[in-house]
Amino acid sequence: MATLKSIHACRDRFAQFAIYTAAFMVCAAFVWILSDLVLGGAAHLSWDFLVDSPRDAGRAGGIGPILVSTGLVLMVALMAALPLGWTTAVLLAEYISADSSFGYAVRYSLHVLACVPSIVFGLFGNAFFSIYLDMGFSILSGGLTLACMLLPILISTADAGLRAVPDTYRLSAAALGMSRTTTLFRLLLPAASPSLAAGLLLGTGRAVAETAALLFTSGYVDRMPGSLLDSGRTLSIHIFDLSMNIPGGDARAHASALVLITALLLLNVAAMRLAAGWQRRRITE
């Protein structure tokens, strides 16, 4: 008895140790990255850094135009991908039966698309938007390429969210003589809003952090963009360029990365708040 008990206790303690170690290692990795960025970049962070133009290939100056380009690329991508993606998700979840071959084909191709490496999207965007549609290296072309990349994420999160809404809502709404459209906009989409927000967040995060897809589409030019047809350098490309191609650019690369990570964290918090708020309003409204 006693030995069995001690074996159990020993096993429990070992399991506990393993679990804590794993969790600790994950946290440690995050802390390490963050502290590296803070140590290397915090000294260069200032208001001027955020608004100035880069000088000397980015070794000096700031990232003003780069932030603007990043914002514009993101805006183009979301404006193209959100309506298209969410409409497709509604079609998939609400208008096509779950086991139809068309629905299956669309879902399958979305899974495949989600696995395509971003550099491939970059090459496709370059061939299609930049060259075939003659947009050149431009924010528009980069944004549209990103939109293609975001579609699978936006569609599958929204699709899953809508599908998770219990069928009983659809039945009882129909039993009250409510139209499909009203049911969709007043009940189903609000009920799925946390998923929509999650998809939006994931998508935005992915778009802000994307490098490879933009290399050949929105380009490197670090001037302030004058229009959507100008080339613009996004933050992640700036970091990539500074650390790979510019000797002595490390400090600014760290500072830029710190800005990027902070932006992503803020985005995260904002999206969570938004989702929680929606849910509250939807219930109490």
């Binding site: 009882s172 039993a175 009250l176 003589g177 409510m178």
Partner: protein, 291 residues
């Protein structure tokens, strides 16, 4: 068209009066006296298939205006399917096919000219599990009203108060109309669902085991409510609680699965079904569950 609830009520009062023949077991709180049964829902040769599987086989049945008709029978014999085909919710179920004819007030509900939304507005439905929408109590009732063009606050306000009074919920919730409906108790949620259906001024109420997900106390409250509603509405209620069927229903229909599909075995006045069933299956079921 069928008279509205209030009109029906006054008709009822005229109809009642003389010979108080009770067709139901036990006391009826406020039921109509169905001495002059008029068919409101006429179901002829209704068969229903889910894909290749038959769920209902040639059901023919008249449901009378202003009466409560209880559907009884074991699980899986097609009672829910029968209800869903009356307001054409079966349209929403993929692979569900219907043959036969259902007429309400003489009009075929599968007529291409029949507007489904209007049809469903006139037929309230209450499901087994209460399904309040994840909205406020007030909004739960207001949303369907808006859908049917009743949008002015001056109109919706009194209707909402009236139906909440009707289901006895007003005193419990009038000071928190804007709090989430999901925070109500199960019995309150079910009564809210009934109120939501009543707000559209239906003439028929379909109830699919409305008390089975509730505790006995809440179930009793809902049962009282249903018997108060009889007369104003034509009610079709599915229940496994035979005592309940006996207390509130005027008519009973006994379904049974024969072969693969559910069939109507016997239909008649509630008392007759319970006390002198003409079919031996009915007798076995009624006595078996009782004893």
């Amino acid at each position: 068209m069928c008279p509205g609830p209030r009109q029906a009520m006054s008709e009822q009062k005229q109809m009642a009066g003389e010979d108080n023949i009770a067709y139901t077991l036990g006391p009826m709180q406020a039921g109509p006296i169905c001495c002059d049964p008029q068919p409101l829902i006429q179901v002829e040769d209704l068969s229903l298939h889910y894909g290749a599987k038959a769920a209902l086989d040639r059901v023919t049945l008249d449901i009378h205006r202003g009466c409560i008709t209880a559907l009884i029978g074991p699980s899986g014999c097609g009672k829910t399917s029968f209800l869903l085909s009356i307001n054409r919710l079966t349209d929403l179920i993929p692979g569900c096919r219907i043959t036969g004819r259902i007429r309400i007030d003489g009009r075929d509900i599968h007529d291409p000219l029949c507007d489904v939304q209007t049809l469903r507005r006139r037929i309230g439905m209450v499901f087994q599990k209460p399904i309040p929408f994840p909205l406020s109590i007030h909004r739960n009732i207001e949303l369907p009203l808006h859908e049917h063009g009743i949008t002015r606050r001056a109109d919706t306000g009194p209707i909402i108060e009236q139906v909440l009074q009707d289901v006895g919920l007003w005193n419990e919730v009038h000071d928190r109309l804007h709090s989430p409906a999901l925070r109500l108790s199960g019995g309150q949620q079910q009564r809210l669902c009934i109120a939501r259906a009543l707000a559209l001024n239906p003439h028929i109420l379909l109830m699919d085991e409305p008390c089975s997900a509730l505790d006995p106390l809440a179930s009793g409250i809902v049962e009282d409510l249903i018997s108060r509603l009889s007369g104003r509405y034509t009610i079709v209620i599915v229940t496994h609680n035979l005592a309940q069927a006996g207390r509130i229903a005027n008519y009973a229909a006994f379904f049974w699965t024969k072969g693969q599909a559910g069939q109507l075995v016997e239909f008649g006045r509630c008392r007759q079904i319970f006390e002198s069933p003409s079919h031996e299956l009915t007798a076995a079921y009624v006595n078996g569950v009782r004893g």
